[in-house]
């Protein structure tokens, strides 16, 4: 065990670190009132399956009136139309949250930025580029992600590594994996221990490697005494990162339990990149996304991670259609509305491609059999954009989904009518379902302590 970060910490100290001093308040003792341990997540072996959390992101929101039929009240049964037609096959696998608000309390709406930051951190940024609090996936990872090889996995199909909407703060935003080959090597390279392979033998060299890392890092701890508070926080995060590598090494020394759902995929290949221009053309993004989604789903099924983030298109939607002079983002502002159709046709094409991509992603997770159900049944995936109607940069009503039953803890198939409540209720509910011990989340008008009980099982 590492001597760097003692596993036995005072609970309050642990939570202080966990929540990063952000916009969260903690309830102690935590009453696990929302969790359903009904056994729906039990495998045939009787062993409990882990419940995982993911996020899925796309840029530019929806075309209002042409995506989801709005309901006057929360109701079972979602009607996906036109732009979201492909999601109709998953209407019973997701919940959709409509007509929630995103109050910024007078702070500027930094276009295509404030929306995702507020939705994922519960705090409106005070300047462009600022991530004022940890994103919800990291708060969840702090609780459930410490016993897997990767605390989180961040992947993007749009080819821009910095477009990753998982961040501890402004200066702590990792690069996302962009390459299928890179992701495959990371997940299923030599360090991967196949749970279904017989004859596991721990490698003594790995034992030395782990011990050495701990020893050398112990010397580095002296630095903690010599730096100021801000840099101490940076080093704290560094040592947390070291802990993940130690975890990875420790897992290589343990024989994993056999796992029927874990089917190691064949080696991935990057598509030919003979031209720079192809990378962010929508068909390329779609095909890359499918490959990355399969790898990510198998990483989850093989228990390599419990928290996974996918970006389909970035917040400025730097994706194009071949031969078009403008990107998706620019089209939302420049394309004229077709009066017969009632929307911007090219923009609609991109929005529809994103929703097709979301449906593809869900196909992948429902396509993996796990226990008595599917992988998606044992996941909760938070999917959102940064705007509602990109042409006007509206952020009230930003489309948000929760997919999967979280191991039986939630019901799906609901259109949840927000009635103008802050959208942070969705993130807060997700965190509570995933076991994050908080009683409220967010700041100012985005702060909430109200779980969306309509979806709890």
């Amino acid at each position: 065990m590492s001597v760097l970060l003692p596993k036995k910490m005072h609970r309050r100290a642990a939570l202080r670190g966990l929540l990063g001093g952000g916009a969260v308040s903690v309830a102690l003792p935590y009453l696990d009132c929302v969790l359903n341990e009904s056994g729906t997540a039990l495998a045939a072996t009787g062993q409990a399956l882990p419940v995982r959390f993911g996020t899925w992101y796309w840029g530019m929101g929806h075309t209002p009136g042409h995506s989801v039929v709005e309901k006057r009240q929360t109701t079972k049964g979602i009607e996906f139309i036109e732009e979201c037609a492909s999601l109709q096959r998953h209407k019973d696998n997701v919940n959709f949250f409509g007509m929630f608000g995103m109050p910024l309390d007078g702070r500027a709406n930094y276009t295509h930025f404030s929306g995702w930051v507020a939705n994922r951190t519960g705090v409106a940024p005070t300047r462009g580029g600022e991530v004022p609090a940890p994103t919800l996936d990291l708060l969840i990872a702090d609780v459930i992600g410490n016993d897997t090889r990767f605390k989180t996995l961040d992947v993007t199909a749009v080819g821009i590594a910095r477009e990753n909407y998982s961040a501890r703060n402004t200066d702590s935003r990792g690069a996302a994996e962009v390459s299928p080959v890179g992701l495959y090597a990371r997940l299923f390279g030599p360090e991967f221990v196949d749970p279904n392979k017989a004859g596991f033998k721990p490698d003594p060299k790995v034992m030395v490697e782990k011990s050495a890392l701990s020893g050398i890092m112990e010397e580095s701890q002296a630095y903690m005494k010599t730096v100021g508070a801000a840099d101490k926080a940076r080093l704290d995060e560094y040592f947390t990162s070291i802990r993940q590598i130690e975890n990875q090494l420790a897992l290589q020394l343990q024989a994993p339990a056999p796992n029927d759902a874990c089917l190691v995929p064949s080696r991935a290949e990057d598509p030919p990149e003979d031209r720079l221009a192809k990378v962010r053309e929508m068909p390329h993004v779609v095909s890359t996304h499918k490959v990355l989604a399969k790898l990510l789903a198998m990483a989850v099924a093989c228990n390599q991670t419990k928290v996974f983030n996918m970006v389909f298109t970035d917040n400025f939607a730097n994706v194009r259609r071949e031969g078009e002079t403008y990107t998706h983002h620019l089209l939302t502002h420049t394309e004229t509305i077709d009066t017969k159709l009632g929307y911007q046709p090219l923009t609609f094409w991109f929005n529809k491609a994103a929703m097709d991509g979301w449906a593809d992603y869900l196909d992948v997770f429902t396509g993996v059999k796990e226990g008595s159900g599917t992988l998606l049944d044992n996941c909760m995936i938070f999917a959102s954009s940064e705007t509602n109607y990109a042409k006007l940069h509206t952020i009230d009503g930003v489309p948000t989904f929760l997919a999967g039953k979280a191991g039986g803890r939630v019901k799906t198939g609901y259109y949840v009518q927000g009635g103008g409540d802050p959208i942070t209720r969705v993130g807060f509910t997700a965190m509570r379902v995933m076991g994050v011990p908080i009683e409220k989340w967010g700041q100012k008008s985005l702060q909430t302590s109200k779980i969306i009980s309509d979806i709890l099982a």
Binding site: A108, Y110, T111, G129, F150, T152, D154, I160, A161, R168, N169, D171, S172, R173, G174, A175, P204, K205, M207, V208, A212, L213, G215, I216, M217, E218, E219, S220, A222, Y223, T226, V227, A229, A230, D231, R234, E237, Y238, T240, S241, I242, Q244, I245, R275, L276, A277, R280, N318, R320, E322, G323, T325, Y326, T327, L330, H333, T334, T336, L392, H393
Partner: protein, 559 residues
Amino acid sequence: MSCDVSQVFSRLFKAAGALALMAAVSGCGPSEPKTAAAPPDMRRLTDRQYHNVIGDIFGRDIEVGGRPDPLTRTDGLLAVGTRTARITPAGLEQYYLVAKSVAAQVTDKVHRDTLIECKPADVKAADDTCAQTYFQRVGRVLYRRPLRAPELKAAVQTAHEMANASQDFYNGVSLALADMLVTPQFLFVVDETETDPANPAGQRLTSYAKAARLSFFLWDTAPTEQMLDAAEKGDFHKDVSKFVDAMMDSPRLQDGARAFFADFLGLDKFETLEKDSIIYNAFSNVVAKDAQEEVLRMVTDHVITRDQDYRDIFTTRQTFLTGPLARIYRVRVERPDGAWVSHEYTPQDGRAGILTTVGFNAVASHPGRSSPTLRGKAIREQLLCQHVPDPPGDVDFTLFEDPNSPNKTARQRLNAHATAPACAGCHKITDPIGLALENFDGIGQYRQTENGEKIDTSGDLDGAAYGDPVGLGKAMHDNAATPACVVRRLWTYAAGRAPSQANSAFSNYLDKSFARDGYRVRGLIRRIATSDAFYAIANGATGTASDVPPVQTAKAQEK
């Protein structure tokens, strides 16, 4: 640091001609004003610095891959973001993979005899003496100071344990080296301080920390072994100018200058540059790479190699091209392949200075068309250090893009769009200068018409009128904000933070000195690198030197 008479005479004897006399005398000028020192910093190595350090210590044939966490551009520079940059779990995972790969290469059969100065008594067993010799030396260059006793002990112990476990001495060295490459001592450059003997109530950078600060500024890499030897003797507390002059005479100054200009000019945008392959079928990965390199070569050749007036980078007709790039420029070069050749534009080519390069125009454009607004914004923010407000949230571009509109050129479309009061203010800041570059399409190819309509490139920059892109370059050359901006950014880059209001006298001093030196960047670099302000440190916690005594190096033990 003040200029003494002996320096002047020394220069006079070395230099020939009246010009040198003027330069030598002008190097003195007013003395440096007092500055309010900033607290010590802890900066994360940039990706480029990481590569440079590994290349310097182990050789350029060592492959370094990886993808570090991105930096946040602050005060116009990524370099400032290193002061607050963190290392996420995914980022450290990358560092660890790279560290293991580098260490494996250093200890492989091809490199071990060259890079490791001793040989083990038995290659199948641990050899603590050899390991200690090696890590004492390599640890000092990696950590930019001598290893402390526990640090050295831990490295030797790691090497010992792995050598025994694997029955391979070099496996042991490889593991210990990999671990050192992921320590905070290596990945973060910490300003270590000590009590200032001249002011016992205050702190100063240690001699090693001064060497590191200077080396990263001038060469974008860690101090050499020779510099560390000098630091050990405290030489960086005595006369730093001799180190500065020697380092500025080295070709390595190009590395430092390239790092600064790549950051200053925002060339990181090339990493995500993409162009539509149907609209711009001449554009490729090769062109993008060469276009970025052309900008760097053009600028560093001008201001470093030839030590010319900085402002001329907006007017010079001298550049460097490859065959693929020349085809975009539609000019002939001697070598049609990828080799770089110098090239001088004629007045008829319609190109002069960095604003007319493929690199500048391709980056500040959309994937399928040019953008006067993006180009104007880049000029204002990057090259003039001026702030352009964000657009309002409810922009309506309908007038801009109405397919039934008779507007054929970008100027006509933007004029229609800018009639909206909410948009007009900002577009007045950006568009007139961006429209001057409309002779260049979205990848910088020259054109005179758009949709059959002749392009009007006339305008004015802060009152200075011009008629074409070359004229805009002349207006940039003559604009007072142009040199002031590079001064501000170079100081910010060196110090890791923008100049504060409290230090406005120092900023003015740099501005005036730059002008007096004929806007020579070399002179500006030297002035900063030899200034007291560059090394000044306020009392503070970060980087305070540890009480743990350093391990003495072999050289020190001999004395």
